[in-house]
């Protein structure tokens, strides 16, 4: 919402530094997004008359313009715009001038022709009027040689662009902003009574209004203006409208917009001659009903839309959203009927959304306009029209539907102070909100409760808390002194959150960097990763590439690896800790979202990932085992599932070489993933202390020949099981394949460290353990003892 300081001052004597005024508006919740002193930076710009237009001899997109700055001397300008004609008055930035964006104008040659300055478009002067091309000035107000800022009457005026919150419909108008600001600054606020002298035939009888559906339309007022001559608006009005971002059209349309902007009263002007009946009838649309709106689009309505229908019951406007083309003001219009209505906000919100048609009017109606402003707005419209020769017909034709009840809110001072942490009494509360029109009745119940009648322009305020927010806003949030809650609480991360942090720090310590790919994937990503197309589907994705929720971290990390490979980093170590989404079996429940940790090592074989898994398991104090397996998308003979306490908690190995190939990567790519939730559920994170023995230990080395079909893990498990409690450490220290070892087998040499907590082991004890292990392994695994030591 753009407001001009000069416009605000028509309602309240707002004085002071513009920056200070801006700060006050921000502090009231009308955040100043930008502030611009108009005319600033255009001090060098002068008005010139176009004396001649010629083709540039060597360029099609530039023409040569001779201009006269009132001194009779012609200056040649090269100009890229073609929207002006001989005789037009246009702004010139002469040589030496500086534009608002800091650009300095110098004498220069353009394709061989001299240009002695630059003709300016409005936006180049920081004066967006929404038009293209060079700004054409009104010859009734401008003359060659005048400074442009003087012509535009902008000297010193300040334009603020305010961000208005949805709960501040009142601030969608100049008057509303002025009311709030005046209260903050302690200056009087007044809505001037329009000066109107009606004449001619009364409106009643010439136009009738009818509210068919009172739940749609709470109020409908209409006035008739005779003697209208359609033409341009006066410069002061077009300048103001342009400044706040409304494009000037013609006098009636401009007044309509002006009144809306000024008083927050959206309205609509019809050419009375084109309204059948002449009757204006507010009713719900019939499904399938069509109307051509002012923008020339044929629209089909549904039952949720409201319409204004004419005497033939045909729609001539979409309630609160946009008028119809059939009754549009045109050059020949002489009599105008202006509608001031109050529409149900929810209806307008729904309707404008359903029709994808947002207008300045709809954005105000959907927040809730002041139903009581119709008469004032109608008279203001008439006053402005009178200055352009029109006369208001006596009387306002009027119908009422169902309006929201203005609530009286009981505001407890104790509650105010409890919620705000303040120490306000009833008088202070009243002093805060009475100036913005909240009528505070004498507190009959003593000092404890204030009876607040909410003004009609604040339909957002209905509860005690709503009023408390207004109190806080007007005493100023910054006056509320901060303090800390009194309760002493104990914060902390829970075990699961600590686990996540430990996982991350282990990964970082192992040289992997944390990636964060998007969880949104395409079906192609899953296919390329060799994964099943089983994923939660997004109904309204931004793009097909991001239409699924990842069921695995693998596609995202593969893509990250591919990105780095494409940027000459073919070997990277990345990890991610993040959730995956498992589609629920029952489509009415939510997906499960296990949190996974995955590592991808490009250019490294499977054992690299296994090593990282081992370190992770050790750091987390969980016992895992690997079970050779062919998980989907993984290398069929170089992968395993990870088990912890007989539950599968992950996968480790290499990515399927076919997938690596499809991704255009150089293999191998090692991979490890662990379901942290599953791990946390089954894994123990505490280990029982076993005292360190003070007695000497004895080592036994055993080398077995074991079939390649039997995993080394089985041998290890067999040794552990058969060695008994004396085994304190076990290391695989040699793997040998080759001569001396049978084909299809390999030799695996383990060192067993045996130790008792309470004595030195005898040779006999050591020999017993060794024999037990040899017996067990050779029988259970069909292994042969190759040697021992």
């Amino acid at each position: 919402m753009k407001v001009l300081l000069s416009w605000l001052r028509e309602f309240a004597p707002v004085e002071g530094d513009p920056a200070f005024i801006g700060d006050q508006m921000s502090d009231l919740g009308m955040a100043v997004e930008s502030m611009q002193v108009l005319g600033e930076g255009i001090g060098d710009i002068v008005v010139v008359r176009v004396a001649d237009l010629r083709r540039h001899p060597d360029a099609d997109r530039i023409q040569i313009v001779d201009v006269d700055a009132g001194d009779g001397e012609l200056r040649q300008i090269c100009c890229g715009a073609f929207n002006m004609s001989v005789g037009d008055l246009v702004p010139l930035a002469p040589v030496g001038a500086t534009l608002p964006d800091g650009m300095e104008i110098s004498r220069r040659k353009m394709r061989g022709e001299w240009s002695e300055g630059m003709l300016c478009a409005a936006d180049e002067l920081g004066l967006d009027d929404g038009s293209d091309g060079i700004m054409i000035l009104d010859p009734t107000t401008a003359a060659p040689g005048q400074p442009l800022s003087q012509v535009l009457g902008l000297d010193g005026d300040v334009l603020y662009d305010l961000e208005i919150n949805p709960n501040r419909p009142d601030a969608m108008s100049i008057a509303g902003v002025a009311r709030d600001l005046a209260a903050r600054l302690g200056v009087p606020f007044a809505l001037p009574e329009p000066d109107v002298t009606p004449g001619g035939d009364a409106a009643d009888g010439r136009i009738s209004v009818e509210i068919v559906d009172p739940d749609l339309c709470g109020r409908f007022s209409a006035v008739v203006l005779d003697g209208v001559t359609i033409g341009p608006s006066p410069a002061w009005m077009t300048q103001r409208l342009s400044a706040v971002g409304m494009r000037p059209v013609n006098n009636i349309v401009d007044i309509s917009n002006y009144v809306m902007w000024e008083l927050g009263a959206p309205n609509h002007a019809y050419d009375l001659a084109r309204v059948a009946g002449p009757t204006l009838r507010a009713r719900w649309a019939r499904p399938g009903e069509t109307i051509e709106t002012l923008d020339g689009v044929e629209r089909t309505l549904s039952a949720g839309d409201g319409v204004i229908a004419d005497g033939n019951d045909l729609p001539i406007g979409i309630a609160g959203v946009m008028g119809g083309a059939s009754t549009e003001i045109g050059p020949s219009t002489t009599t105008v009927v202006v509608e001031f209505a109050w529409w149900d906000p929810m209806t307008i919100a729904r309707s404008s959304r359903a029709l994808s048609l947002r207008s300045e009017a709809s954005s105000r109606f959907e927040r809730g306009c002041d139903p009581d402003t119709a008469t004032l707005a109608a008279r203001r419209f008439a006053e402005l029209a009178a200055s352009m020769g029109a006369t208001m017909a006596p009387g306002v034709v009027h119908a009422d539907g169902t309006l929201p009840v203005t609530p009286v809110v009981q505001v407890r001072t104790a509650r105010v102070n409890a919620l705000l942490g303040t120490d306000l009494d009833a008088d202070a509360i009243i002093a805060a909100i009475a100036p913005i029109g909240f009528d505070c009745a004498a507190h009959a119940d003593g000092d404890d409760v204030v009876h607040v009648t909410v003004p009609t322009w604040r339909p957002d305020t209905v509860t005690e808390t709503d009023v408390i927010e207004e109190i806080a806003r007007h005493i100023g949030y910054s006056t509320i002194v901060g303090r800390r809650p009194a309760r002493a609480t104990t914060g902390g991360l829970d075990a699961r959150q600590q686990l996540r942090r430990r996982v991350r720090s282990v990964m970082v310590g192992l040289g992997a960097s944390e990636a964060m790919p998007t969880p949104l994937l395409s079906a192609d990503d899953l296919r390329l990763s060799g994964l099943a197309p089983d994923a939660v589907v997004i109904t309204n994705p931004l793009a097909a590439e991001e239409s699924l929720l990842r069921p695995s971290l693998r596609p995202g990390l593969l893509r990250a690896v591919a990105h780095n490979a494409a940027h000459r980093n073919p070997t990277v170590r990345l990890f991610e800790v993040g959730r995956v989404f498992v589609p629920p079996g029952d489509p009415t429940s939510l997906p499960s979202e296990p949190e996974m940790c995955a590592v991808i090592l490009s250019g490294e074989p499977a054992p690299a990932a296994v090593r990282m898994l081992d370190v992770l398991a050790d750091a987390l104090a969980v016992d895992i085992e690997l079970l050779a397996s062919e998980p989907v998308g993984m290398h069929p003979t170089r992968s395993a599932v990870v088990r912890c306490a007989d539950t599968v908690v992950g996968v480790v190995g290499e990515v399927d070489p076919a997938v690596v190939d499809h991704m255009g990567l150089e293999g191998p790519v090692a991979w490890m993933e662990v379901d942290l939730d599953a791990l946390a559920a089954v894994g123990s994170s505490s280990r029982n202390y076993r005292p360190v023995s003070r007695f000497p230990s004895a080592d036994v080395d055993l080398a077995f020949e074991l079939s390649e079909q039997v995993p080394a893990a089985d041998l290890r498990r067999a040794i552990v099981r058969s060695a008994g409690d004396l085994l304190v450490d076990l290391q695989l220290f040699d793997v040998y394949r080759g001569s001396g070892v049978a084909d299809g087998t390999r030799s695996l040499a383990h060192r067993l460290r045996l130790q008792a907590p309470d004595r030195t082991l005898t040779d006999v004890e050591v020999g017993t353990v060794r024999q037990a292990v040899v017996d067990h392994v050779t029988t259970e695994l069909s292994a042969t003892l190759r040697w021992f030591a």
Binding site: A418, L420, Y477, R484, P485, G491, L493, N569, P591
Partner: protein, 350 residues
Amino acid sequence: MTNSDAHPLVARLDALVSQAASAVAAAVDLDSLHAVEIELTGKRSVLVEAKKQLGGFDPDERREVGQRVNVVRSAVAELVESRRAELAAMERRRQLDADRLDLTEREPVRAGHLHLVTQARDHLEDVFVGMGFTVAEGPEVETDFYNFEALNLPASHPARGMWDTFYVELGEPGTVLLRTHTSPVQIRVMEATEPPIYSIMPGRVYRRDTADATHTPVFHQIEGLVIDKGISFADLAGTLDAFTRAYFGRQVQSRLRPSYFPFTEPSAEYDISCVFCGGAGCRSCGGTGWLELGGCGMVHPNVFAAVGYDPEVWTGFAFGFGIDRMTAQRSGVDDLRDLFTNDVRFLEQF
């Protein structure tokens, strides 16, 4: 007896000291030193011979020559030992030089790097934990009830347009979605526990915004929720101020400005004084001296109603802000999309 009357053997012994000095100095390694030592003090050495001859001397001679033998013996021994230590040191040095390693002859091994967003999130969590908060989490795929309705955003609420929402094909159409903020976790926490509540809710959220330098459809937020007896707007202001100073630095200030959110009332924008210019005004803060961080306010009575808390007994505040943009800005990253490209040239800088 005088020196001139000295026994001839004494002269030989005296000469021996200087001979020994040059012989010892000439030994270039421990082996040759050993040979010299044998020559000087071994069985056939002058010293041993002199000692053997002592028995044939008269007592005066024996004492004089005997003393001299001892003096020379210890002088020679000292020479040998000192040379031995010297040679041993040289020998050790030779071996060490042979074992020399150029420690700079390497390809540096690097630690991995935590993602910038994780670093920020961990730090935020730590600050709030220090202030007595616990950390709560919830699902990213949510129902309309938790994401909107329970937060005082019924289906027809116009403010729903403030969040562009991704829906998923689960449940009734338009009822299951990707959470647009971490606020649904507040509802879940309130449903699951009784006050008092002092919790933060960090996590990933989704908005249907086309990615550009300042927006990504997937990003991270942190929210806080405090519910207790006697909690007021002043507690909100004081808590955020304490957080601001703990996280951003003692000199950084916070301020609250009126705003609107359906789930809080009164609502506020939470700004901090510009961390780049100290509040003087610069490009980063658009010349205002303030950076907009997030939103906050007192928990709306309708939110309490949705979870069955009595707003006359309990009051509370909530706050929230985005992590990615804040941390990117502080780190000088001017395109948010770079956070999620996973380029090691980016990741390894943090």
